[in-house]
Structures are given as C-alpha cells and as structure tokens.
Amino acid sequence: MRTILKRGAGAALASALAVSLVGLTGSASADAVSSARGAAFGLELVGPVGLEPQPAVEAVFPAGPETAEDALLEVPADPAVNSATLAVRADAAQQSTIEPTLQAVIEGQFSGAPATWNARGYAITEDLAAVSNTITADVIESESTAACIDGDIVYGSAARIVNLGVGGTNVPVINPTPNQVVFNQLGIQIIFWQTNWDPSTGGLTDDGESVFTNALRITAPGGIDLTVSHSEASATCAGRQPQPPDPDEPDEPDVPEAPPADPVPGQPTFTG
C-alpha cells in the first residue's frame, strides 16, 4: 500500500482533456520562520458511511518531520467512494526551501508570492469514481502553501482537475475562481478549489491561522459530504533577520522539560 503514486493515465490525459489549473506563484523569497506546518489528506467522507481523513500526513517545524508522505493505491468499493488512488505529502522548513508542485505550471499569479515556501501540503487523487460512479475525475490536485515575507505571512492555494464528469458527461471547469460551484443539480453540489485563500492579497478570507484547499468538495443525497485532495499550510514568522545562534547558549530542546511532580495529598495504597 505504501507506494508513491505513479502519475498514470490521468496525468497523461492532462494535455488532451479539459484541464483546470489555478493558483499563484511569484519570485519573492521568504524569511525564516519560528514554526511551520504542512498537512494533507486524500479523502474524507462525512455521512452515514464515514471515512476518516486518509491517507493523512503532517509535517511540522520545529517539532516534527520536515517531510511526510503517504499513499493509498486502492480504495475498497463503496457507494460513496467507489475507487480512487491517493497520494499526499507535507513539508515544513525553517528556511524557505520548499518548491511547490503545482506552482511551476500555474496560471493566474499573485504578485507578492514567493518562489519557495516554508510550509506546504499537497494531495493528488487519480481515477476517482464516487457517489455510485456518478462523479468521476482523472486527476484532482490540491496544494496549500505558507511563507513568511518581510515579517508577514503569505499564503498560497492551488488546485487542478482533469476531466471531471458527472453521470458520464464532462463538466468543464474553465477559469475558475476559489470556491466555484461547478455542478449543482438534483442534490449534488460540487465545489472546485474550495479554500479560505484570498487570491488578491495572499491572505485569508477568514480568521484562521492556516490556509486550506479542498480540490473538490462534493455533497450528495444520502448525507454524503466528500472532500477530495485536501491540503493546508501555516507558518509563524520568526522576524525579518533571524539571529544566529549564540554559541554560549546551550541548544534548547523543542520538547519541553517535564516539571517535578506535584504531590497529591492522600493515603497511598501501594504494597508498602
């Protein structure tokens, strides 16, 4: 099961079929951060047949792995999610060294966005068949990024879909904007590129502290609420000029030290 997802027929179809690819890029460089986090999952299903987010990964600076990835190649047949192959990746780094996957081919750029980032979540789903094979897509990608630029957090969000179909009919996704409802018929609603990212500023449209991107959000009769290719990212600025470590200061571990135990008044019942 744990195999990096190969780019299969879905990717090959990208140039020949309807491709929607949106997001941001730019050339500014990012500062060091005091914390960063990237996370992603492939599928989450809320409804009568629930599905925990999976495969799910998280990368956290400074207290976790800088990179985490996972894949799930086969989804057991189910009325809500008939089949899909999924791969997710998360990155977090103090320095802005993370190159986004989608950025290089994204159109519609945000002028203040950096070329590399401090945190990134990325998810790709291929060969999706969902809601009793009613909804299909060849490739569904999501990427969320966060970086610190001149002391301020800048976010990015990107999504890509290839050959979305409903009931066997292609649903074109052309020049989308965030949170675009691309299908809304007979109780099925499909939102492409659901995000809290503000493309005009690189900020967020809510009070959250991280950017998220759901490449597809599908609601359907029977209480189905399916999220496909979710990513998120956040960072905390460390300041414009990171201070070099003081050689006289011992390194502070990132795990806090356990304090001495507080005595609890009471009569012990130990064996004595």
């Binding site: 099961m1 744990r2 299903l45 409804g47 009568p48 047949v49 629930g50 599905l51 495969p55 799910a56 990964v57 998280e58 990368a59 956290v60 400074p62 207290a63 976790g64 792995p65 985490a68 996972d70 799930l72 057991p76 189910d78 009325p79 998360a90 809601v131 009793s132 094979n133 009613t134 409903v166 009931g167 009919t169 018929q185 007979l186 109780g187 099925i188 359907a220 009769p221 029977g222 189905i224 390194d251 571990p253 990132d254 795990v255 806090p256 030290e257 356990a258 001495p260 135990a261 507080d262 005595p263 609890v264 008044p265 009471g266 009569q267 012990p268 019942t269 130990f270 064996t271 004595g272």
Partner: protein, 266 residues
C-alpha cells in the same frame, strides 16, 4: 443539461440512496497507513537494561501526559486493532495519567516525529512490561533526563540526571515471599500521606509496576517508592514489594523528579 441526462442522473441517485440505506452501518475498511518509520525497539522485559533513547540532542526520555479525557492504547498502530487499555486523564491516585514513551526514532531535535501519529508506550497495567500504541494527539509530550536505577542485591538506589549521578542511597525492598519486581517501570503518581508516621513516610511515588505475588491488594498491588517511619528497615528485605527510602532521601527527590521518570529495577 439535457433531459435524458437528468433522468439518467435521477435513476443513479435513486440507486445511490438505496445502496446507502443498505450499507448504513458499513464503515469503509481502508487499511490504516503503515508507520513511516521503524517502530520502537523491543518491549522492556524484566532483563532489559534501561538505557536512554540514543539522541545527540533533546531529552533522554520522553513522557506523555494524557491530553484527552481517555487515552486508548492499541496493540498496533491502528484504531481497529485490539485495545490494550483505556486510561482516564487522571489516574486512581489522583495524578495526571502519564506514560513512558518508548521512542527509537527521533527528529533532529530529539522530539518525536509528529507525523507518525502513534507512539509506543509502557503502560501502567498488569502484566508488568505491557506496552501499547497511543495516538500522539492524545498526549502532551515532555522530556526528562532523570532516571532511577535500583539494585536489589545491593539495596541501592541511584538517581541519574543524564550521565550524572545526583543521588545514591540505600533502600529497603520486598521480602522473599513478596519480592520487588524487576524490569523497567516509571513513576505514575506522587502522594503526600496525611502523616509521616506510617509505613509510607513523608512521600510515596506510585510506579507503573505491580506486585507479582499480591494480586488482591487494594488498587491492584501497585509497587511504590516511598519514605518510611522505620529507618531501620532500609537496607533489608522487609516490604511487600515496595522500595523504601529514608524520608530525607525521598524528600530530595520530590522537587526534582517528574511523573514518567523511568525506574529500572534489577
């Protein structure tokens, strides 16, 4: 949208709704992701030699304190696997539920790679040495360099802070019929009795280990590390399994040792 397509879609959706009703109780049986990193080393056994988790940085030992109302320990890194134990946020002694984490893989700063999502822990249950896998989301993780080493043959107790010996003293241990168990354990509670004038003296730590002979003891026969109202019992086999210290010794430990401090008994 063509009418024929709408009719076809309506038919499909009807089938979807029916199928969902039929499988309403079914959960998707997606396999849990396998651990990305190698799991912890062998579970501690009575013959295990306690050694700090190798790490150039960070603490020698990691301690998890319950951050959820209930912490569930599983046999594998899978919530569908056998439940080894369920632990409330506060244990029966009124202390924060604490676990000694058995972490072999560390991040560069000595911390647990959070992306793992799971960590193996020594559990405060019978049989001694039982381990299980806990969700890191359910824990607040801290570190310590303290550890305790008890040598029954020598009636000695040594407290280390990393490689430095910070205390070496004499202790009393269990009798031949109620021996002090051997193995790797950790401190799970610290009680201050109402009076010093009991067998427990001024303070008593509870350990994660249990007597292997006293099964029906109140609260299960938890082994203690405690003071005493009889200093002459130190240096002898006198107890029901607990480790006895002089009050002045244990009072030095109280402002020092956190819950979760490992204690190896040989």
């Amino acid at each position: 949208m063509p009418a024929s397509f709408v009719r076809r879609l309506s038919s499909i959706l009807g089938a979807v709704a029916l199928t969902l009703l039929l499988v309403g109780g079914l959960r998707l049986a997606l396999g849990a992701p396998e651990p990305r990193f190698a799991g912890p080393g062998a579970s501690p056994s009575p013959t295990t030699t306690a050694s700090p988790t190798p790490s150039d940085e960070g603490f020698d030992w990691l301690v998890g304190t319950a951050a959820a109302d209930t912490v569930v320990a599983y046999a594998e890194r899978d919530t569908e696997s056998e439940v080894v134990g369920e632990f409330p946020r506060v244990n029966e002694q009124g202390a924060e539920q604490t676990f000694l984490l058995l972490v072999e893989e560390r991040g560069p700063d000595g911390s647990i790679p959070e992306g793992l999502g799971w960590v193996e822990a020594l559990l405060p249950v019978r049989p001694n040495g039982t381990t299980g896998y806990l969700r890191t989301d359910d824990l607040s993780i801290q570190g310590t360099d303290y550890r305790i080493f008890v040598d029954r043959e020598e009636f000695s107790l040594t407290v280390f802070d990393g490689d430095e010996v910070v205390m070496e003293t004499e202790v009393g241990i269990g009798t031949g019929e109620t021996p002090t168990p051997v193995g790797l354990f950790y401190l799970t509670s610290l009680l201050q009795p109402p009076t010093n004038n009991t067998v427990y003296g001024s303070y008593a730590y509870g350990l994660s280990g249990f007597s292997e002979t006293l099964i029906d003891w109140e609260d299960g026969g938890i082994i203690g590390l405690h003071g005493t109202n009889d200093p002459t019992s130190v240096g002898r086999q006198v107890s029901h399994g607990c480790i006895r210290m002089r009050n002045e010794d244990i009072e030095q430990l109280v402002p020092m040792l956190p819950l979760g401090t490992p204690i190896e008994i040989v």
